[in-house]
Symmetry: C2
Amino acid sequence: MRVYNFSPGPSALPLEVLERAAKEMTDTNGTGQSVMEMSHRSKDYKPIFERTEALLRELMGIPSNYKVLFLQGGASLQFSMIPLNLAAGEQGSAKKKAVYIDTGVWAKKASDEAAKYAEVSIPASSKDKAYAYIPAAPKADSDAAYYHITLNNTIVGTKWASIPDTGAVPLISDISSCILSEPLDVSKFGLLYAGAQKNLGPAGTTVVIIREDLIGHAPAWTPALLRYDIHAAEASMYNTPPCYGIYIIGLVLEWLKNLGGVSVIAQKNREKANLFYSYLESSKHFLSPVEKVSRSLMNIPFVPRETDPEKRKDIETRFVKEAGAAGLVNLAGHRLVGGMRASIYNAMPIEGVKALIAFAEKFEGSL
Amino acid sequence: MRVYNFSPGPSALPLEVLERAAKEMTDTNGTGQSVMEMSHRSKDYKPIFERTEALLRELMGIPSNYKVLFLQGGASLQFSMIPLNLAAGEQGSAKKKAVYIDTGVWAKKASDEAAKYAEVSIPASSKDKAYAYIPAAPKADSDAAYYHITLNNTIVGTKWASIPDTGAVPLISDISSCILSEPLDVSKFGLLYAGAQKNLGPAGTTVVIIREDLIGHAPAWTPALLRYDIHAAEASMYNTPPCYGIYIIGLVLEWLKNLGGVSVIAQKNREKANLFYSYLESSKHFLSPVEKVSRSLMNIPFVPRETDPEKRKDIETRFVKEAGAAGLVNLAGHRLVGGMRASIYNAMPIEGVKALIAFAEKFEGSL
């Protein structure tokens, strides 16, 4: 029996995508091969790859002066690639400035890694309130190589309510946990990146959307696989790409297109999130720790209103365990922050959110 | 209808592995989830990951003082990681020496990349004869950080007949296209690496087997994801690993274990290769361009005996096309060398080789 999977990533995929992948596993498109067996340069694989890129371009409205790259290494490898390609100079030359806004663990990891290759400044942070809000975005230094934000913060459940205007300084964002969840004006960004394992497909593929003028600035000592220019010149086939992951992403994008695209899923996502936030607002025992204006549509952390640490911990443990037994799995908060968290990505049906609320209400009766 | 897939990688997988993956696609081990949907840190995924590592250790006889890492980026990222971790010094300090033996395109790519971070020497090459043999291995400089070979050369179809003795200098090898094809004494190596997409599973996972004393020597400026120490300390979970690929590798390893393990598959591989080399020896129209003692068990290039370039090209084109139509696919040689090539990895049944020979004999009748 299928469960409702609230995992923050890897996370639930649409059932019909999985069923189609299963059906095509030993013979895809009449080729007599699994996609896993196809040479990445074969005529059998080419249309699969091209369809995935075309669907992503169509659904996100990616302008023609942006390249779409399908890479490996997750968002974490982008934490290195971005400063290496955009701010590191040749050996002996000065590092360029890079601006990072600190909105949580992943934003901090990105800036820590960037500090190896760039002169990093962090003009705003929400650490003072355990990252429970998105800070105002300071103006960018005009000589900064780029300005980095984390559009949706998976662990603390915050989201930038509007895109900061950084003028001529390229805006870069990690959109791993919100890609395709609602419309996004790609043209406001110089570079967007996302690990696939939330709204796109299985772990192991990273999507990078990069404006062409930002390609070609890596110093000579950059590892070949970490250079955007090499990947762009070879259309993501400098070496063997994660072919099967790209195929699954294509199936997910097709599913999304058939649903009506990003504006339709955004409406569904708002409904799902509103339902759960409303429940939390009215709950006697649980609450959202996040400031209203900064709340994520995708990741909703919640904690007991109980303040006694021991009782609180007991409620959390019981909730996660009993929910799991009821087929509502992976509701524990991130190991660094505790509490509970419901990640309700595109593939989570509203029935899953309703089932979670019904469970939580019943659970409250036991408190 | 399934085809016989002679692709050099990604390549054929055992049909029963694909059938099991299809069967478990929407619900694996009674979890109600696809492996693609499982959080990498969940109790559902943990046994899958651990079983894969345990099976690899068992089948390859990996000693306990070696770490097994499941990474991303293919063998190509290892081309950077090896010199970065083992030969690059801190900024300003001298690069260490690294020895590379040039046995073809991939060996050359590895040494080209290493030259960014190490003082590379290439004391032997088989370029003089289009890489159609494995050169004698010169003694290692005692002050070299490591000595790198490519055990099996996918493009030209050569294989080291014996493992060079490099004394105290750690021997490193790319074993992408021969891992698990026959017994290998891991203890003779400091580090072994393999992209999964030949004998292990789908593209997107790289296996690294590294002796513990070689971990922990990366300079501070190394990108985090390119440091062996970080991956080893976090047991390949510093960031989200390619979970589904690791699961498929586990299924392939289970299949191999059920067959009887590496010594049994090696016997089958020798039978398959002998059959095809014998055919080529006796063929009036085709031949193996590789020196007998250096012939690969996995990749068998073959070319027309015809010497007229135009007629030759015509034979090659027709052969690949007509074989494809007969369900024997991906027989073109690498785009850099031309000709034909039959890659007959572990998952290729002997029936596939017999079918190829039968086709080739019939084809010869048309010449």
